[in-house]
């Protein structure tokens, strides 16, 4: 069984790309952090929840041929490092495109997709993936 409490805890962040911004140094983070890794104790009380725009660009990408069971029906699929416009770099799938259309620097935007489901009677996990602009 998947970790139900983890899925529930992360729902807000995964559905809406919500992270944190350190108001001490201005750096943004995803996934959320309670403490800024640069400012340490200086950031206490200065971490602010922010919703990212969902826009970014591809820093690098790969094609996955040997996937975990949750992604078997999507093989081969594209996995990319996406640099959000606000700064954080996240790992996410690129969907609905021909692999030939993807290249480093391509602008992308967030899509809402099913990430995985726990069999036919378990919970369904949703979250962000990306599409080419």
């Amino acid at each position: 069984m998947t970790e139900l409490s983890r899925i529930w805890r992360e729902t807000e962040y995964r559905y809406n790309l919500i992270g944190f911004k350190c108001n001490n140094c201005g750096e943004s983070y995803f996934p959320p952090r309670d403490i800024c890794p640069h400012c340490h104790r200086e950031s206490i009380g200065k971490m602010e929840k922010v919703k990212f725009s969902g826009n970014g660009e591809i820093l690098s990408y790969t094609t996955v041929h040997d996937a975990p069971p949750a992604f078997k029906r999507q093989v081969p699929y594209l996995l990319a490092l996406v640099k959000l416009d606000e700064g954080p770099v996240i790992t996410a799938q690129i969907v609905d495109c021909d692999p030939d259309d993807v290249n480093i620097g391509r602008k992308v935007h967030m899509a809402f997709r099913k990430i995985r489901e726990d069999g036919t009677n378990g919970v369904i996990e949703y979250g962000y993936k990306f599409k080419l602009d």
Binding site: Q74, R113, K114, D118, G122, Y126, K129
Partner: protein, 351 residues
């Protein structure tokens, strides 16, 4: 008066052609294409379902109109393919668009008209000042048994309508419903595919209700077919709506904009609403629209709509139009289709 404040649609990227389905089941492709007037249908990818389609449609509506999610007091999602039998799609969508704790929510089911039933409810709640804005969404990843005629048309897609009294782009002048107990189409609890009652599908099902609701609306509003610039009916295939239009005295120019089934198939609960979305994509102030849905079992919801001057400043281009959603597609073969639709079962328990 209340009406549509914003709208958004979503149609999956993948398509399959009737030739490909006919190749597997030994049907004559030209006959199927002609009988159903279908050129392709949309196919959801393995990571898409009614929740993801509904979220994308609702987000597209909010891209066009910047409404504070805290002011959206209700959300109803109509579908016959909700991902859960027990656990609402509506709350998943609400969470994904940032709605607060206090809102009315439910999932609706009335075959293909559950989305328009949601529109009626939201309008009633807005009119009675229960809520400021409300979302009604019609969305499906419909099922057609392998080898069944339904397999040629059962597709995926959805549309979200934000209804309120402020900044209304299309006033809903009136709405009504007709309903009977008719065994034209059903799916029993736990069954993966629906069944259709053969001869009940056409005359006693679709035409009886669509025509009755349309006539009742025109009688109530004292209108005739020529008073409308556009008309959209539920579209189980490409033929039924044009036949209904002919019966009621509408012309091809009035129904062609909203007729999408030939390109995307029957999106069930999304069908009439996505047709209406395509009409709103190109309509101008003053245009009058008749929209009539149909849900098996059976019933029809009719809407008399007038596009307002607000449409001039409305940011339609902030989200993809239906035309745009139909443009960029990828055709797949039947093997890929069975993998995507989980007709092939894998041994893994986690997917």
């Amino acid at each position: 008066m209340s009406g549509i404040v914003s709208y958004g649609s979503y149609i999956p990227y993948y398509r399959i052609k009737p030739e490909e389905i006919a190749r597997i089941w030994g049907d004559e492709p030209e006959r199927m294409k002609k009988n159903l007037f279908i050129l392709s249908k949309s196919v959801p990818s393995p990571d898409e379902d009614v929740a993801s389609i509904s979220v994308e449609a609702a987000r597209n509506a909010l891209k066009r109109r910047d409404v504070n999610p805290e002011e959206i007091g209700a959300i109803y999602v109509g579908s016959e393919s909700h991902p859960y039998a027990v656990k609402p799609t509506a709350t998943i969508v609400a969470a994904a668009i940032g709605m607060p704790l206090e809102y009315f929510a439910a999932d609706y089911e009335f075959a293909c008209k559950a989305g328009t039933a949601g529109m009626q409810n939201v309008k009633a709640m807005v009119d009675s000042n229960f809520i400021k804005y409300g979302f009604a969404i019609g969305s499906d990843t419909s099922q057609g048994a392998p080898g069944d005629a339904l397999e040629y048309t059962a597709s995926a897609g959805g549309t979200a309508m934000l209804i309120g009294k402020n900044n209304v782009i299309a006033e809903i002048n009136d709405t009504l419903s007709v309903s009977t107990d008719t065994p034209d189409f059903w799916r029993r609890e736990g069954e993966p595919y629906p069944k259709h009652g053969e001869r009940f599908t056409g005359e006693p099902g679709y035409f009886k209700h669509v025509v009755a609701a349309s006539k009742a609306m025109m009688e109530r509003r004292d209108t005739k077919s020529s008073d409308y610039d556009y008309v959209v009916f539920h579209q189980p295939n490409g033929k039924f709506p044009s036949r209904a239009a002919k019966i009621l005295g509408f012309t091809g120019d009035q129904y062609k904009t909203g007729l999408l089934t030939p390109y995307i198939g029957n999106t069930y609960s999304g069908s009439t609403m996505t047709g209406l979305s395509a009409i709103l994509d190109e309509s101008k102030p003053g245009d009058r629209i008749l929209a009539v849905s149909f849900g098996s079992g059976a019933g029809s919801d009719a809407f008399d709509i007038t596009v307002t001057d607000e449409m001039k400043d409305y940011k339609r281009d902030n989200a993809p139009t239906v035309k745009k959603l139909i443009e960029k597609v990828k055709f797949i073969d039947y093997g890929m289709y069975t993998k995507f639709r989980k007709i092939i079962i894998t041994g893994d328990s986690v997917e």
